[in-house]
């Protein structure tokens, strides 16, 4: 429990940079304990950086950050205090696991914080009950609505009763009713645990009014730090958004004027721009849009409001013809919408949610591309005029990805109006854009509507934007629950604000059907004081929590599971049959110029061989060349005129053999076969004539050890086992870690008590298990399918295999430390394992024949040693004790690789 004397958070001179970009600049502040604080500002002003530093997810670069009395730059103090902090990062359910159910997510977090089974059950039940999630314990987190995801995130954060609760934009993209429920929930938590400090970021500035303190941020600096009332009083503004704009430095406010929307001239000619009748869209059993109808006149600005996932985007896609409707119809300008209709497309401009232009193209290239696709001149007037009008001139030759969000949105709008459409469909064009840029954007929309009579259909989250529309539609759970001019809707509900009106309509709609959760009982004790759990440096429980979670996720991902299970089996078949060094069924043809019994006897030798297949005879040299070129034959035997006669007369005739050298390996093998057959012909002939050939001075007797038949399968199969057990397990293990980096759940490593070793071993364990299954499968295939028996110690092979996959999965973990995207993890690991495994580990060439760097890589790669175990156990017939040395060598890689992983895997973000 925090003593009141210690402030919850104290920052002094804190700065943070991302390369050259400034995240935070010289921020100092003190937040007392038991306070509620809201941080407001648009995207990219430093809110998330600030929270990451306070939660201990980011490394303190400069200045001091002290949280609950602990210095966050000190690893020991940080680890100790992190059990008292809860952090919910930005993004709907970003630190949750989408494939896991509500219950499974909660159990995972409870284990991370060391709760035992009884505590866990009690806490989870209480929290589920209180948040209204109790009816859906088995629903996957990814299938929850935005509001429910955030409630689940909150449950996960509250499991361990933190003293400091940090919520980064918990209500962005959540419908107004869920938003209100969420804040009520926070109030109740505070009521049951008054000592808890709550720190919240939001881009809905008006939400901040219910907090004790408000911090306003801009460009990495603090604009204001005061009570909401004091901020309003100081600026003389009516609401916090206006106050924020008023507090902005002069240059950031440039061009900002209070936007007024001139009334629409009622010259409607009766023909509707858009008309939807009974529009419905289903995805499987899920109805995304349910019987939606509306009619929009020309030049009207029509607003569309609702939470994420309520069907706004689906409706808009149906309006543009991107998505066919399941039922109902859409009429644009009086005609039906047909997905293939090019003429309609020229009359409509569409701006998809998020930035969906080519980020890798420059602003000018984007404009030119679209101009050309619409058959407009790509130079001159139109593009120049548009870039001037939307303030894009300074950015024309910059790559779009690097531009500020507001500029990219203006570019999107410029592209959408490039071909002068009569109607614009804009899907959340202002999400995340700062208030000044938003007002500028709206000024453009108003001008388009009022001056050029362009019909505008726009969806938004912001109520003050909705208020500017001629009419708005409230959408919830796939249905339009109210349509009308904003003022009329507000009056209809007798509400003070449009927000309240929306909630009023939602409650009425919810009364007709089952709500998203019954109103929570007031008595539930949401937060309790409990004795601190003993801290352990290494906890098997946390390790197993990660291992269990990883296996669950793997089981639910069909592509990864397929690769993990059938990948090795399939590749083993391919390699087993594909890389064979046995050269057989060689096609040959004969040019027999002699046609004597002797020549036929000579050819007979080849005919009878199992290595060769005889093709039709060759007539002349030209045909021979052509047959070689077409790869019809690999070998031609030319018996000269007078062969039989010369042979009978002992004049040593000479046979000419031509071999196709295009494939050198095949040619060398053919050479060997030909020499053998020729030799046999001579001995056979000698014995049949009773001649003794002169004995050689000495003979060399070649003995093929381990594999008398010299069958390439016997040598290949054990090698393939070694190769596949490094390739696939390492890629999957690398993906396992990098996936968390990319999806954001790696934050849980940064801010929970789990240590890096627990994290790594926990992630590794399922892949060791899978790889062991693969090992068993491959050994089984080798014995039954390929007929390669284990001549030596099976126990040694299996033990060696287990040790080997532990090393190869550790190698995958090591690769994940170097890569930050899943794509890089797959390709990087594939290249990094394939080359040493195939070329330097003794698969094709013995390591003893390598030199220099190749030898060094071969010696320092685990496959080299397992290859000896595998070949030794399968083919060489080595016993357990013979294999033990190699097993020990393989095992030595495990601690080294894991130690490297520990060094390279950071416990904090940069």
């Amino acid at each position: 429990m925090t003593t009141p004397a210690v402030p919850a958070v104290r920052l002094a001179g804190v700065g943070h940079r991302y390369g050259r970009t400034i995240g935070l600049e010289d921020v100092s502040l003190t937040l007392p304990a038991a306070e509620t604080v809201a941080v407001i500002g648009p995207d990219g002003v430093g809110k998330s950086t600030l929270f990451g530093l306070i939660a201990g997810a980011k490394i303190v670069q400069s200045g001091t950050v002290s949280v609950l009395g602990a210095d966050m730059a000190d690893a020991r103090q940080r680890t100790a205090v992190q059990t008292r902090i809860a952090y919910m990062p930005q993004g709907l359910g970003r630190n949750l696991y989408a494939d896991l159910s509500v219950e499974e997510n909660l159990v995972f977090f409870a284990r991370l914080f060391g709760l035992n089974a009884a505590q866990r059950r009690a806490r989870i039940d209480t929290l589920l009950e209180a948040t209204g999630l109790a009816p859906f314990p088995d629903r996957p987190a990814g299938k929850l609505s935005g509001g429910m995801k955030q409630k689940l995130g909150l449950c996960c954060a509250l499991l361990h009763d933190p003293d400091l609760l940090i919520l980064d934009e918990p209500t962005t993209g959540v419908d107004p009713l869920s938003r209100r429920q969420f804040w009520d929930l926070i109030d109740r938590i505070r009521a049951s645990r008054p000592g808890m400090t709550v720190l919240v970021a939001t881009s809905y500035m008006d939400e901040a009014a219910r907090f004790g303190r408000v911090l306003m941020m801009h460009g990495g600096r603090l604009l204001a730090d005061d009570t909401p009332a004091a901020v309003l009083a100081r600026t003389g503004c009516a609401d916090l958004e206006a106050a924020f704009v008023a507090l902005l430095p002069e240059e950031a406010r440039k061009g900002h004027t209070t936007l007024t929307v001139p009334p629409r001239s009622p010259d409607g000619d009766g023909e509707a721009a858009i008309e939807a009748r009974g529009l419905t869209r289903r995805f499987g059993a899920f109805t995304a849009v349910d019987d939606v109808s509306f009619r929009i006149g020309r030049g009207e600005i029509f607003g569309f409001l609702g939470s994420n996932g309520c069907g706004k985007t689906t409706t808009m896609k149906m309006l543009t013809g991107l998505l066919p409707a399941t039922a109902g119809e859409v009429r644009l300008f009086g005609g039906t919408v047909d997905a293939g209709d090019m003429a309609t497309r020229r009359r409509v401009g569409y701006m998809a949610q998020a930035f969906s232009l080519y980020g890798e193209l420059t602003v000018r290239q984007n404009l030119v591309l679209h101009a050309r696709l619409f058959d407009l001149p790509s130079t001159g007037g139109r593009i120049d005029a548009l870039s001037r009008r939307f303030g894009l001139v300074p950015y024309l030759d910059s790559v779009a990805d690097g531009l500020p969000l507001g500029v990219r949105q203006r570019l999107s709008l410029a592209v959408a109006v490039l071909h002068e459409p009569e109607m614009l469909i804009l899907d959340e064009p202002t999400s995340g854009v700062d208030p000044v840029a938003r007002d500028l954007f709206w000024a453009d929309l108003v001008a388009l509507s009022r001056q050029q009579n362009v019909t505008i259909f726009v969806s938004t989250h912001f109520m003050n934007e909705a208020a500017r529309c001629d009419r708005v539609a409230f959408m919830h759970a796939g249905r339009v629950i109210a349509v009308g001019p904003p003022d009329a809707l507000r009056r209809q509900q007798g509400a003070d604000s449009l927000d309240d009106a929306f909630i009023g309509f939602m409650s009425r709609a919810a009364a007709d059907e089952e709500g998203e959760g019954a109103p929570p009982p007031e008595s539930a004790p949401l937060a309790v004081e409990h004795a601190e759990a003993p801290r352990r440096r290494f906890s098997l429980r946390r390790l197993l929590a990660y291992a269990g979670r990883e296996s669950l996720e793997l089981r639910r991902d069909p592509v990864r599971l397929a690769v993990a299970l059938i990948g090795t089996v399939l590749l083993m078949l391919v390699f087993g049959y594909g890389i064979t060094m046995d050269v057989q069924d060689l096609r040959f043809a004969v040019l027999d110029r002699d046609r004597s019994p002797e020549s036929r006897a000579y050819i007979e030798q080849f005919d009878g061989s199992t290595y060769f297949l005889r093709r039709p005879d060759i007539a002349d040299g030209a045909e021979m060349l052509r047959r070689f070129q077409a790869n019809d034959v690999a070998l031609a035997i030319e018996v000269p005129n007078g062969f039989g006669r010369d042979l009978r007369q002992g004049r040593s005739p000479e046979v000419a053999v031509t071999i196709d050298g295009a494939m050198p390996f095949r040619a060398e093998t053919i050479q060997g076969y030909v020499a053998g057959i020729h030799e046999r012909f001579i001995t056979d002939m000698a014995t049949s004539h009773g001649i003794t050939l002169p004995a050689a001075a000495a003979t060399v007797e070649a003995r093929y050890r381990y594999n008398q038949a010299f069958r390439s399968l016997d040598a290949m199969v054990p090698s393939v086992v070694a190769l596949l057990l490094v390739f696939i397990p390492s890629i999957l293990a690398a993906l396992g870690v990098v996936r968390e980096k990319e999806l954001g759940s790696i934050t849980n490593l940064y801010v929970t008590p789990v240590t890096r070793l627990e994290f790594l071993l926990g992630k590794q364990l399922p892949y060791i298990g899978l790889a062991t299954v693969n090992l068993l499968l491959m050994v089984l295939m080798a014995v039954t399918l390929f007929g390669v028996p284990v001549k030596g110690s099976l126990a040694g092979l299996l033990l060696g295999g287990l040790v080997y996959v532990t090393a190869t999965t550790a190698l995958g973990l090591l690769m994940s430390a170097f890569t930050s995207t899943q794509t890089a993890a797959v390709f990087g690991t594939a290249i990094a394992t394939m080359m040493p495994a195939t070329q330097f580990s003794g698969l094709l060439q013995p390591v003893s024949t390598l030199e220099g760097p190749a030898w060094a890589i071969g010696t320092l790669f685990p496959t080299t040693y397992f290859l000896k175990i595998s070949v030794g156990a399968f083919t060489k017939g080595l016993g357990f004790w013979d294999l033990l040395g190699f097993i020990a060598a393989t095992a030595a890689f495990v601690p080294v690789l894991l130690a490297l992983c520990l060094i390279l895997l950071p416990k904090q973000e940069k």
Binding site: F665, A698, F710
Partner: protein
């Protein structure tokens, strides 16, 4: 038609810009056509090189010492003398691939005409070296013993002579083969990856649906991807052929190279269409990578670039006939190694083209269906 060409041309330009801005992918492409080809060509050798050899000399005579001296670099490492009892351990640990065992009284027996036996123990698990190395060592030993015994003339007395002529690659330089085959494998790999990635990138960034609200048809989008990525790969193939294979590795390009490039262009239709197909199956780049391992890697391995097609079981050969890369590999080998002209390889050329056209049509149908069904 004019509209189709204009639209496709605009989109091709866009694809090129996108590709050139993707530094990671571009680096990978350049690596694959230069360093990867070179290292594969020089790395895996089918020749005997640097073989590890031990000699158990139980005779210790001038002859047995002479025998140890015939093994020289670069084919052989200097032979290591070991004791009889050390043979098993040395071979079990793969320290040596070959062990020569010279029996006691060997020189005396040779001189007395008793035709003694030298044992050559071969580690048959060292698949690449064992067979060829054994023949090589036997020959060297035979020659040296014959020279010692003063019987060089012995071999001329055979009743039938044989004259072996190797055509197309007289010195059996394995670099030529592995180098060209590495290039072929990388053509397939890059074509699939680039085209697949181009589709997935657009879907991940939402630009695909943006294109679809404009007057652009799926066939134009797909053709643009095939042409843009295919042309980059065709250009790099030419550069790699002359820059890496001919200049650095000394592969003689005496066949009609234009025919090979025409075949490659037709094949790229198939390979890029396959990439786009996989791009519609995979939801993300990592999934594309995993599918690549399951589908393209086996296709590459089995199409004849590693081992001759006729070494595969008959059923597999039949199956592989349905895969255009098999025909393309056959075409490339015939043209580049055996100097075959159009008159010889037209069946392969036709099969490659037909496979490409079929697969393009199929992928297009799938892209269309998916775009229609996507939310």
């Amino acid at each position: 038609m004019g509209r189709f060409l204009r639209c496709t041309a605009v989109l091709v330009g866009k694809e090129w810009i996108s590709l050139f801005r993707d530094v990671f992918m571009l680096g990978f492409v350049v690596y694959s056509f230069t360093f990867a080809v070179y290292s594969q060509a020089t790395g895996i050798t089918h020749d005997v090189r640097n073989a590890a050899l031990a000699i158990v000399d139980e005779d210790d005579s001038p002859l047995s010492r002479r025998l140890a001296e015939v093994f020289r670099r670069p084919e052989f490492q200097p032979p290591v003398p070991i004791a009889t009892h050390a043979i098993d351990r040395a071979m079990d640990t793969a320290r040596f691939t070959f062990v020569i065992d010279i029996p006691p009284d060997f020189q005396a027996d040779v001189l007395a005409g008793r035709s003694p036996v030298v044992q050559l123990l071969i580690d048959a698990t060292a698949i690449m070296q064992a067979g060829i190395g054994a023949g090589h060592i036997t020959g060297l030993l035979d020659d040296e013993i014959a020279r010692f015994a003063g019987r060089e003339a012995a071999s001329t007395a055979t009743p039938v002579g044989i004259q072996v002529r190797i055509v197309f690659n007289e010195s059996l330089n394995s670099t030529w083969f592995t180098g060209v085959m590495a290039l072929l494998n990388n053509i397939t790999m890059l074509a699939v990856l680039l085209a697949g990635a181009a589709l997935i990138r657009e879907r991940e960034h939402g630009t695909l649906e943006h294109l679809l609200v404009m007057p652009v048809r799926p066939v134009e989008i797909m053709t643009a991807k095939v042409v843009a990525n295919g042309s980059v790969i065709l250009l790099l193939t030419g550069l790699s052929l002359y820059g890496v294979l001919r200049t650095l590795l000394g592969v003689p390009l005496s066949g009609p190279v234009w025919l090979f490039l025409v075949g490659t262009a037709l094949y790229l239709f198939f390979a890029t269409a396959l990439g786009i197909f996989l791009g519609t199956v995979a939801r993300s780049m990592p999934q594309l990578g995993l599918l690549f391992i399951l589908i393209v890697l086996p296709m590459n391995m089995l199409s004849g670039t590693n081992t001759p097609l006729e070494s595969e079981p008959q059923w597999l050969q039949t199956v592989m006939q349905a895969v255009p890369s098999t025909h393309y590999v056959a075409l490339a080998q015939a043209v580049l190694f055996r100097h075959a002209g159009l008159g010889v390889v037209w069946p392969q050329l036709a099969a490659t083209a037909a496979g490409g056209a079929l697969f393009f049509a199929w992928s297009l149908a799938r892209v269309r269906r998916q775009l229609a069904a996507e939310r």
